[in-house]
Amino acid sequence: MRRTAGLWLLIGLAGYALLPWYMVTGGVLSFGWLGDLSGEGASALLWSLSGRTWLWLPLFGFAGAALVLALKRDQLQTARGLVASGAGGLALMAGQGLVILGHGTRFGLAEGASQPGMGAGALVTAAGLLFILTTGISGLGRGRGDAFITGMVGAIVALVGIFVFYPMAFILVSAFELKGGAGFGISEFFPRFFAPEIWSTACFTGRGYCGAAMNSLILGLSTALGTTLLGLSFALIFTRTAFPAKKFLRVLTILPIITPPFVIGLALILLFGRAGTVTEFFSDMFGWEKTRWLYGIWGVWLAQMLSFTPIAFLVLIGVVEGVSPSMEEASQTLDANRWQTFRYVSLPLMRPGLANAFLLGFIESLADFGNPLVLSGNENFLSTEIYFAIVGTVADPAKAAILSLVLLSLTLTAFLAQRYWLGSKNYATVTGKADAGRHAALNPVLRWTCYLVAIPWAAFTMILYVLIVFGSFVKLWGYDHTLTTEHYKRAFGIVHRNGWHFIGSAWDSYFTTLTIASLAAPLTAAVGLATAYLLVRQKFFGKDAFEFSTMLSFAIPGTVIGVAYVMAFNFPPIELTGTGLILIIVFIFRNMPVGVRGGIAAMSQLDRSLDEASITLGANSATTLRRVILPLMGPAILAALTYSFVRAITSVSAVIFLVSARYNMATSFIVGRVENGEYGIAIAYAAVLIVTMLLAVLALQLVIGRRTLRRADRIEAH
């Protein structure tokens, strides 16, 4: 404990005394600040000496820690001292940041002072103080006395606090804003929260439209149920049958997840809309009436089924694979037939996977923004309502905030229901008692059910994508079907004149998107899986609250997050708008819950005695994580990396608020083209993105591969 604390003391002090405290132009990695050490590049130490006396404050934390380390010998006293110093230092540091802003001060303190947003020096200083605090906590015997564990918990709590709760506080405050700028109060909150326009059930009684929350709820449940069943069918086909075209199916199940938003909706409209190809066909051939059935809840549902089934599949495949064959064999030797084996053994063991897939589908559906935007017709959904409350003709942040709370209460309920259903049963199936053996094949009825459900869906997906490619090569889909490569030339043109020039209009956003996605993906996976590890394997105070807070960012629709980030990070102490960093951060915290859920599902299948064996063999938690857990979590890591990479490229809702001229993202570029009616370029760009992501995903699968627990993953012959 003493050594770890001492190390963080030195690191923190170095950050305080050597690195530039504030944000520097060009970023800290450009090292331009080295030439301006007394000005913009000055450290907190220099600033304190030259008049910004409030910057002395963090130093109290370090001084306290140094005194404790020098004077106290007793373990418990040292630990308490470190906790006090770390916490005190952090509080002082946060205090000065929240009080003294760029344009003045809050609460009438330190009048006249001002400062820019915190930078690298502040980051390192804060990290030093935080880890002194967590090391102290481990010294108190928490987290089994393991500083690595408490440090990890501390870091994740701090990050979630700053990048989820802090911005959400801005949104929450505005939920209590009174109409007409009359200040804040609770009087208008409840009537607005329970307003009929949100909760109305009129569509059931046939007397009008349902409220936005009702629509979202129905949609969410249907989508979650549908995607879970479809995902399970696919997972079963992959692991329990000898289906001949598995590779091809696999690609098809990945396609929708790597499709930028609007594209599926757009393709559906171009097929089934009033002027769509299929609609026209049936109207010409059979004289069927052209209807607007696609615009409304079932159109959105169709689009969501196409978009989100792969997520359920990715969650379920790891779980279905993980069910130990010996348990299925045990059941069969107990004279259960294949159906009984599946029904009473395999299926219950897959419960955590099913519950997670369902929860993900539900939350994804509620927070989805792209599909309802294009397909909702006259019906309202929460996520789009929030968007319009903010960007609509009459901006109403209070309404947006209240709708967000409604959304949150729905997702929260789903989350608690899932916890209740799973209970505290143990689902470990990789027990460390190695087993050979084969997965039981499905019984024929089930097998054909899976085929019948999954194959038409796959075929439909395939047709849709062939059409998207087709659409990118014609002048104007639906009207002028002359073949052309015009769209690609305009977006991705390259000329060779004194070297290569990327003159296409899309290149800029394309490179930005790829860079940001490649940076965000490993970070997201790391944060997500680390959280999962803590949740499944460690015991610590406030674990439930911790779990809930890490899931929270997922339940908040992107639009809300985007607005919240703009409100919170547009001025000191943390000033990030306009940087690429804010995009990376928003992706990490939006997508991390998927890593968490996938990680939890995968890790609850690894018997705890595996980690414990490693620990008693002298490995520390970090080594155990690296050498035992991670290698056994191949599929979960793959899922997390894939998902976060792809989501960073395809997500639109939060991004739209956070892009800047310098850091424009592919999706916001596409939205711009769609708004201008340039469908050709939009679809061409989407096609290029799809191919890019496909290559990346395949590369990831090759690199990470699958775990080899059994020499051969055989499937029983029929």
Binding site: R144, A434, D435, I615, L617, G618
Partner: protein, 350 residues
């Protein structure tokens, strides 16, 4: 205290409302094999995990090799554990599994490989190094787990029901191997089991636990010969427990058994109701009455080749007896007389 000793100082463990260990103190001498024995749920595994550092005590101190390790994490304790489920890493070969503890301690590769090889040889698995755990039988996996634990040359080796997944023959063989390795290496070993025969066979000392506390501890002989309670008498070896009344105590003890009054060479027994302990093979059966005999009717007789087992109905309750086979065995329904030696009698509180 020296290397390898284990000491609990009033250690308590609670899981929420469940008390898994009541304040417990124990001392384990270096180089001995001590067994924790007791019925399911009595806290054996919990005690073992506390020694390993996988659980932190709610209260009290734990010392290993004389050093206070109460707050030391499992990683840094010189303790290895063999898990009931083996906990072999399924993605590593047998050799990698055995060398794991060495590689995480940064022992040079070549040396680690060599020591792993030696470890595998010790458990009789030379040449199995390149296989995956899934390609071994249960008994072989068990031995890999033992090899993995001993190559680290731990001060204390912990084994949690290491044989429960093996068949009876293999059990005897592996437990002898474990005992031999423990003695060769001079390790301190703490061995959890709920099989009293296994415990008697391998242990230097046995700690019997019941309801989250120690019921009695001692050498196998002590426990068998001087049980301090009906529970121990019955748990360690079979015993007939017969209600008696202690009428006088002192240097010798006088007891009343039905209409007999006996003076037995036991001291320090308090007066009042008690239970008399008699082992099945300490009983005699004959057709003739003796000085101290009880009438007994044969309720059931089982011929086992090298012995005959009788269930007898007596005025003092049902009694179980084991006799050497005779040319003319007793039969069900025979009316006999049951005799015993006063010296064999042990008394435990009722």
């Amino acid at each position: 205290m020296t290397k390898g000793s284990v000491r609990f100082d009033n250690v308590t463990k609670r899981f929420g409302a469940v008390v898994a260990l009541k304040p417990l103190s124990l001392d384990i001498a270096p180089g001995t094999l001590v067994t924790l024995l007791g019925p399911s749920g009595c806290g054996k595994t919990t005690t073992l995990r506390l020694i390993a550092g996988l659980e932190a005590p709610t209260d009290g101190r734990i010392l290993i090799g004389g050093e206070d390790v109460t707050h030391l994490s499992a990683t840094y304790r010189a303790v290895s554990m063999v898990f009931q489920s083996y906990a072999l890493f399924p993605h590593m070969t047998v050799a990698e599994n055995v060398a794991y503890g060495l590689t995480v301690k940064r022992v040079p590769r070549a040396e680690a490989r060599e020591r792993a090889e030696t470890g595998l040889e010790m458990v009789g698995l030379k040449g199995f190094g390149e296989r995956l755990p899934s390609e071994l039988s249960g008994g072989q996996q068990q031995r890999v787990a033992v090899a993995r634990a001993i190559v680290l040359e731990p001060e204390v080796l912990l084994l949690d029901e290491p044989l429960s997944n093996l068949d009876a023959k293999l059990r005897r063989q592996v437990r002898e191997e474990i005992r031999q390795i423990q003695q060769t290496l001079g390790l301190t070993a703490v061995y959890v089991t709920h099989d009293q025969e296994e415990a008697m066979a391998v242990s230097d000392r046995i700690i019997v636990m019941k309801n989250a506390e120690i019921a009695q501890e001692g050498t196998p002989g002590d426990l068998y010969d001087r049980p301090n309670s009906a529970f121990i008498a019955d748990f360690i070896g079979d015993a007939n427990l017969i209600d008696v009344e202690v009428t006088a105590s002192g240097k010798e003890t006088e007891i009343e058994l039905l209409d007999h009054r006996l003076r037995v060479p036991l001291s320090g027994v308090s007066s009042g109701p008690a239970k008399m302990v008699l082992r099945p093979h300490q009983l005699r059966l004959s057709r003739e009455p003796g000085p101290v005999t009880l009438p007994a009717e044969v309720g059931y007789a089982a011929y086992l080749g090298n012995s005959v087992q009788y269930t007898l109905n007596t005025p003092a309750g049902q009694v179980f007896a084991i006799m050497p086979p005779t040319a003319n065995p007793f039969r069900q329904g025979d009316n006999l007389h049951l005799g015993f030696d006063k010296e064999d009698i042990r008394l435990v509180p009722a």
